[in-house]
Amino acid sequence: MSRITLSKLAHSYLPNPKGEADYALKEMDHVWQDGGAYALLGASGCGKTTLLNIISGLVRPSQGRVLFGDRDVTDAATTERNIAQVFQFPVVYDTMTVRDNLAFPLRNRGMDAAYIAKRVGQIAQMIGMEDILNRKARGLTADAKQKISLGRGMVREDVNAILFDEPLTVIDPHMKWELRTQLKSLHREFGHTMIYVTHDQTEALTFAQKVVVMHDGRVVQMGTPEELFETPAHTFVGYFIGSPGMNLFDAELTGTEARLGTVSVPLGATYGPTTGRTQIGIRPDYVTVSGEGLPVTVKRVEDVGRHRIVRAEFQGQPLNAILPEGMTVPADPRVSFAPGKINVYANDWRIAPAEKVGGAS
């Protein structure tokens, strides 16, 4: 087990990358703490799998270094790194029994038979396959096979990290929840560094202590679920996390206010001069629809069960708001924004307030 450091890491699949656009991973510096449970979240094709394969050594980065603890493993082969990885689609050794599949990584490391038997027993219990240990893996269903893959990923106790590449894609929904819970308890028990790639925010937020959001080959934010929710560092994070995503409005900053079309929204803080496109963002959860505040045009209201989502137009720009249960949209709808919950973005990146004023928290 060790800390994983990515230093000036970048990767391109092209032999002679020219501009930034040629890079699947743009230059990044990151440290993954030993024993952390990380989720790597992002849309398809944003470089999550590339990053994972670089850590496991399946792909050699075109630039930069990868360090496990203090050891530079950039040029070390996958087999030398002692790392476990579970792939999106089940990979089992068809001709082996379930037992041999689980024992395979241990046997390759030359562990003694008694230890292997004990460890395989534990893992089999965890994935609920004790009764079919002697069956050939070949005839099993896709989710049983994926459970074997998961088991094989976790069977080694001394791995540096366990990497999961969207491992629950092929698993039944109810089983997904169960396995995720097991992964979490396993993490608490053994303290392996775990990196879990997913494009499902619920999966990421429930699994990880820290969520790493990737967008277009870049890590845009690494933070706790709360940080991602309250202060998204990039408009992509605001939009990607939360359902629906953050409202973003083009605005002009004047003092402690933002001007949107014909109205002003108080920000409760001053910001330094901004360049480029300036936007303000607020979560739908912090938008109150009532008879007071700024006028909006309500387009429609969607019932999603626990609450309703108001789809509206605000100063010519779309706005979503959460309407708690029992509330109704008044005849002359207006909105107000919770003070201190507005984030300001310049060219998609969040800028911190220079100074807070006027009692806003």
């Binding site: 399946l58 996958t78 990885q85 990979v91 050794y93 082996m96 990584p105 390759n108």
Partner: protein
Amino acid sequence: MDKTQNNKAWFLVLPVLVLVAFSAVLPLMTVVNYAFNDTFGNNQFFWAGLDWFEDQITSDRLHEALGRQVLFSLIILAIEVPLGIFIALNMPKSGFWASFCLVLMALPLLIPFNVVGTIWQIFGRVDIGLLGHTLAAMGIDYNYTNDPIDAWITVVVMDVWHWTSLVALLCYAGLQSIPQAYYQAARIDQATRWSVFRYIELPKMKGVLLIAVLLRFMDSFMIYTEPFVVTGGGPGNSTTFLSIDLAKMATGQFDLGPAAAFSIMYFLVILLISWVFYTVMTNLDREEAR
């Protein structure tokens, strides 16, 4: 779903029956006719019962040819199958060189049998052949027309040259169907090269490999043209395999009765061995799935 029962549907099979009767069954019956009768020409036949069969089963000549045939098939299987696998494993997986190798491998398969025989017949000649002459120049005593061992080596090498490609191409197709993730998982699991072959590549190749073995067995068991062109079955009878012996008997000596009995037994043996292969293959498959 209810199926309509109508026995007239059997008539639909008739065209196929007629076709097969004319192309296979009736010619075969001629052979059967010769096998159970004796004739002195003039289209007069005398019932001979199982005499020809007894005659052939106890014939030393047939036993020797059968022995040579089995030995030949075993030798070329033992060489071509491992060699084919080895070549397939080492062929490039994609890009220009993959296509290049595929074309190169396919070339021997496209050459007609008697041309292959002629090529090797000339290639091996000590006076003008590149191989024979080079070996002679190196001081190696090689002459496939005099020395039975040299004749065997020539015939075996020729068959390996001609047919290993088939095994290699079939295995290559099997290997290409393995997703990259399997190799990646094996690297993650710290598997050795041998384990990767044993647990990933071999199982995926097994289906095509059994077909390759079956095809190569059947083809080599009926081999005729190539050794006939190169050695003519000699020196002596040393490379007279079953079908060469059969042709000698039928068209050389005009012993149609024994030759017909021989043909029928030859056919039954191949049928039997192929059936055994097929049964073993399907049973293995079923056992795996359990």
